[in-house]
């Protein structure tokens, strides 16, 4: 396991063939941006390999991370509809692999909420709301929840595929070591493209043309 800062430094050392100078264009923050993509690509690769090797569609638990105390707000226009903002958009693996489970806390913890895919949520919206059950579907960065419970008094606890806190460089990269080489290869490829691209060295008001 490695922190984001450490992994970014390792990649910069590799791309520059040693310690970078103060003129180095590739910065840890920039590598961190690529890291988010690489984590998602690694999770997708794990999903694909599991199907090929075990004929079962799943993403290994090592890619999952639980985010707690996410506020729940009532969504406008519907008494039984609530909304939770996730730390990032869930990965689009399978029907609902991006978000593993959703629970709610207010002194005690609820059972898992029931996931719905797009079509199921269309059916569910035409049905009477099921008492004491929480249904959810994902939409971009949000979870939309349908329930008769006053959910805005609770906080959400979401287990989802995530590389960790991308804004905190001291946080650990939530990817198992066996998928690190894949991520490193991907990021190196992206950074090598940047390093080998022609640079406009003239301040002449014209863009560089090959």
């Amino acid at each position: 396991m490695s922190t984001r800062k450490r992994l970014c430094e390792r990649l910069i050392l590799q791309i520059y063939g040693g310690k970078p100078t103060d003129d180095a264009e590739i910065t840890p923050n920039q590598v961190n941006e690529w890291l988010n993509d690489a984590v998602a690509a690694a999770a997708k690769s794990n999903y694909r390999e599991n199907i090929q090797l075990e004929s079962t569609a799943y993403v290994n638990g090592a890619f999952h991370m639980t985010y707690s105390d996410l506020p729940v707000v009532r969504d406008y226009g519907d008494d039984f509809l609530y909304k939770v903002q996730l730390p990032h958009i869930p990965v689009a693996i399978g029907i609902d692999q991006g978000v593993g489970s959703v629970r709610f806390r207010k002194g005690y913890t609820s059972f898992d909420a029931i996931p719905l895919n797009n079509k199921q949520s269309a059916f569910a919206s035409d049905m009477r709301t099921i008492p004491n059950k929480i249904l959810y579907s994902t939409e971009g960065k949000f979870l939309f929840l349908t329930t008769t419970i006053q959910l805005n008094e609770f906080t959400a606890r979401v287990r989802m595929i995530s590389g960790g806190d991308s804004k905190n460089m001291d946080s650990e990269v939530n990817v198992p070591d066996d998928y690190m080489p894949e991520m490193i290869l991907y990021i190196n490829k992206m950074l090598a493209t940047q390093r080998s691209s022609p640079v406009d060295l003239q301040n002449d008001g014209r863009d560089l043309k090959k």
């Binding site: 100078t21 103060d22 923050n29 920039q30 941006e33 060295l201 301040n203």
Partner: protein, 223 residues
């Protein structure tokens, strides 16, 4: 090397080469010019730039040897204070060339950027200037972005003090005045390069190693 050692050596070489008389004033002028010339060479001359590759063959930071040679002129880390309103800080009075700049207790780099890339730095979301400060040179000043930056330290190449061989005239004879003379801070090995350049300017073409031999001769046989 003391100014007297420098002058005696140059005078000795001039005599060996049977050239014209060599006055102390000439020595001061040539040695100062030669010192500047050698320092510019070490810092990287534009004339040596190759087409399409903006880097001199020899330049500051190129390798540890060059840096070691000019180390007598590299300042200790110097705090720089910029105006909070304009973000402008004046260059130190003895500033000659930029070496490196740091910011904050973690010594984060403050990057010197090209003005035609300045807007890319100022408007960057990935590396916002608030946590990745940059500067440009403007009218003999540093212009920082963000303008409110504080806690900046600078490492720079200092302008050498001027070499001067001073004398007092006693009974129509010039006697060396050690108290009012000023030596250059170059180390002895680098002074040979400076003296060789000064001699070339005064009409004697010698390599630094030949100058070294003459210096040894003076030590063993006297001037």
């Amino acid at each position: 090397m003391t100014p007297k050692e420098v002058y005696d050596l140059m005078l000795f070489i001039h005599r060996k080469n049977q050239s014209k008389s060599f006055a102390e004033e000439e020595c001061n002028a040539y040695v100062n010019a030669a010192s500047d010339s050698y320092l510019v060479y070490c810092l990287g001359e534009f004339e040596q730039y190759q087409y399409g590759k903006p880097a001199a063959r020899v330049q500051l930071g190129n390798n540890a040897v060059i840096r070691d040679r000019i180390s007598p002129f590299i300042s200790p880390l110097t705090p720089i204070t910029a105006s909070a309103a304009t973000g402008i800080a004046e260059l130190p009075t003895d500033y000659l060339a930029f070496d490196a700049m740091f910011w904050g207790s973690s010594m984060k780099k403050v990057r010197c950027v090209e003005p035609d890339r300045l807007d890319s730095h100022i408007n960057s979301d990935i590396d916002p200037i608030e946590s990745n400060p940059v500067f440009i040179f403007i009218k003999n000043n540093f212009q920082f972005f963000p303008k409110t930056i504080t806690g900046v330290t600078l490492s720079y190449v200092q302008r050498p003090i001027r070499f001067s061989y001073n004398f007092n005239t006693v009974d129509d004879r010039r006697e060396y005045d050690a108290g009012n003379s000023k030596a250059l801070p170059w180390r002895n090995t680098e002074m040979m390069e400076v003296i060789a350049r000064a001699l070339a300017m005064s009409g004697v073409s010698l390599q630094a190693r030949d100058v070294q031999q003459y210096a040894q001769t003076i030590k063993t046989q006297g001037a």
